[in-house]
């Protein structure tokens, strides 16, 4: 892991180079399927045989988690859910959870955001209303109920600060200064701010410095947070990038059908993952 603060974003050759930067055993913060996922890097992680990863869903996971779990790269998952959305259950996740092959820490969406916001603010915990009485509280190792110090008899839950080793996601643009543009996908900024290192694949390179552009800046994550970037055109495929291309629903259906069995999943890997794909 690189030490904070990141200062000069490195430019790498592509998804495989990014995947080599992410060590075995790393805790990786990942966005949901509707926020650009660095799928090309996920496939590269499978190709390089990554091991013992811990996946953190911010706040839920989808295709990328199912593939990494199915390929045996994952030791542990903390998330609020793993789902393929309309394509149905994430079958490799389901199988691994039911067999105990992967340890699952169940959370609820805003508690994950809250734990990352704690790290973003440099505090050891943040409180959140609700959740009390859920069995999630009993089972989660890092949550704690206290009495609201401003009154009495008012229990409130705390999320301990979550510090992922790595933030990994895909961006519409990177620029020459190392800034990346993710638009309204604020969860990507939260992951980047809270993580020790941040790796971003990008669709296209923009000349200059997007922070100098008042229209682009609000959707940017500053290069302060970005460890390294690499080009990966259509790098979110079969998921989408808002404003660029949509989710390949037919491919997700195909995946969901194949991933029902270990053999089908292996067939998917052979065809779409283990061979570098130019889709």
């Amino acid at each position: 892991m690189s030490a904070l603060p990141a200062n000069e974003t490195r430019f790498l050759a592509g998804a495989d180079a990014l995947a080599r930067e992410i060590p075995d055993g790393a805790c990786i913060g990942l966005p949901p399927d509707y926020s650009p996922v660095a799928m090309a890097v996920v496939r590269a992680l499978v190709r390089r045989g990554a091991k013992d990863l811990k996946l953190l869903g911010v706040p839920v996971l989808g295709l990328c988690a199912d593939i990494l779990i199915g390929a045996g790269c994952v030791r542990e998952v903390e998330t609020s859910a793993v789902t393929l959305g309309e394509a149905g259950l994430a079958q490799r996740f389901t199988a691994a959870a039911e067999s105990g092959a992967v340890k699952i820490i169940d959370a609820t969406c805003p508690m994950i955001h809250t734990g990352l916001q704690a790290t973003e603010k440099g505090v050891p915990f943040l409180p959140l209303r609700g959740v009390l009485g859920s069995d999630l509280v009993k089972n989660h190792p890092d949550w704690k109920t206290i009495d609201n110090p401003y009154t009495t008899g008012d229990p409130i839950l705390l999320a301990k600060a979550i510090v992922p080793d790595v933030a990994l996601f895909h961006a519409r643009w990177a620029d020459e200064a190392g800034n990346v543009w993710v638009g309204r996908r604020g969860e990507l900024a939260t992951i980047a701010h809270a993580s020790q290192a941040c790796y971003v694949s990008f669709e296209e390179l923009k000349r200059g410095d997007m922070l100098e552009d008042e229209l682009l800046a609000p959707g940017c994550i500053s290069s302060v947070y970005v460890t390294a970037v690499a080009p990966a055109p259509r790098g979110a495929w079969p998921l989408g990038v808002p404003g660029a291309y949509g989710i390949d629903d037919a491919h997700l259906q195909l995946y969901a059908r194949l991933a029902k069995t270990a053999a089908g999943f292996q067939q998917y890997l052979d065809e779409f993952v283990l061979q570098p794909v130019s889709a």
């Binding site: 839920v60 609020s80 959370a107 609820t108 609700g130 009485g133 309204r184 604020g186 808002p242």
Partner: protein, 243 residues
């Protein structure tokens, strides 16, 4: 029935929402989304709807945290939750049951407290789903008085019936039974005890006007965000819905 089951359910949800100002729709909830868009067609754009997974023009400009923040600020009137299991105390389980793993709790443990009203919705109405006691409480149906809670369940809608939640009694009351089912059928397929009137009304179907809207403008917006669902529901109805 002169309408699809999904249309009946959407009409029912629309009536439950009533005159809310802001309805949020979470992951994979095409029927609640149908209901809200139907209301908007009928009420000149009200209520406001925020579709968490809207593929273009997503209502949240700060990412997925903003839905929960808005709920915490008291800005969400109605939300929807389902469950792999739902019990008679309105607890929901989205995690595991009978050795099976489900996707997970999503934001339920928070939204069930923060949204002013939650409509529980699960099409499957069976002893497997509607249980005496959930195996895992993703989100509790009620909270002891010392726990701050701004909202909770108002109703449970299934493929067979509509129950209303009685907050003081902490029990469901059977409100109506959908065409094709009966009070006896509901009783036989519900694992928890609930109150019921001697004569259980039949759930009203959408009106002809509502059906026109559902199959026209509502189908189009649903098709953009839930393409598989829209194909399934309206694909069979020649000449309506998205191409």
């Amino acid at each position: 029935m002169s309408c699809a089951k999904e249309e009946l359910l959407a009409g029912c949800i629309a009536r439950l929402i009533g005159d809310a100002r802001h309805v949020a729709v979470g992951a994979a909830s095409p029927i609640p989304a149908m209901a809200v868009f139907l209301l908007r067609e009928m009420n000149r754009g009200r209520p406001r709807v925020s579709l968490l997974q809207k593929r273009s023009g997503n209502p949240f400009t700060e990412g997925s945290r903003e839905l929960f923040d808005q709920a915490g600020q008291g800005r969400i009137d109605v939300f929807f939750l389902g469950g792999a299991q739902i019990d008679g105390e309105a607890n929901i389980n989205l995690v595991r049951a009978e050795g099976k793993r489900f996707p997970g709790s999503f934001g339920s443990a928070y939204m069930y407290f923060a949204a002013k009203k939650t409509i529980l919705f699960r099409e499957e109405h069976s002893l497997r789903v509607l249980v005496k006691k959930v195996e895992f409480v993703s989100a509790p149906g009620w909270s002891p008085p010392e726990v701050e809670r701004h909202g909770g369940p108002v109703a449970l809608l299934t493929g067979k019936a509509l129950f209303l939640w009685q907050k003081e009694r902490r029990r469901f009351q059977l409100q109506s039974v959908h065409p094709g089912s009966s009070a006896e059928d509901v009783r036989a397929n519900t694992g928890f005890s609930y109150d019921a009137p001697a004569l259980v009304p039949r759930t009203p179907e959408p009106t002809a006007d509502e059906l026109v809207l559902l199959r026209g403008s509502v189908a189009r917006v649903i098709g953009e965000n839930y393409p598989e669902f829209a194909r399934r529901v309206w694909g069979a109805l020649a000449g309506v819905g998205p191409a």
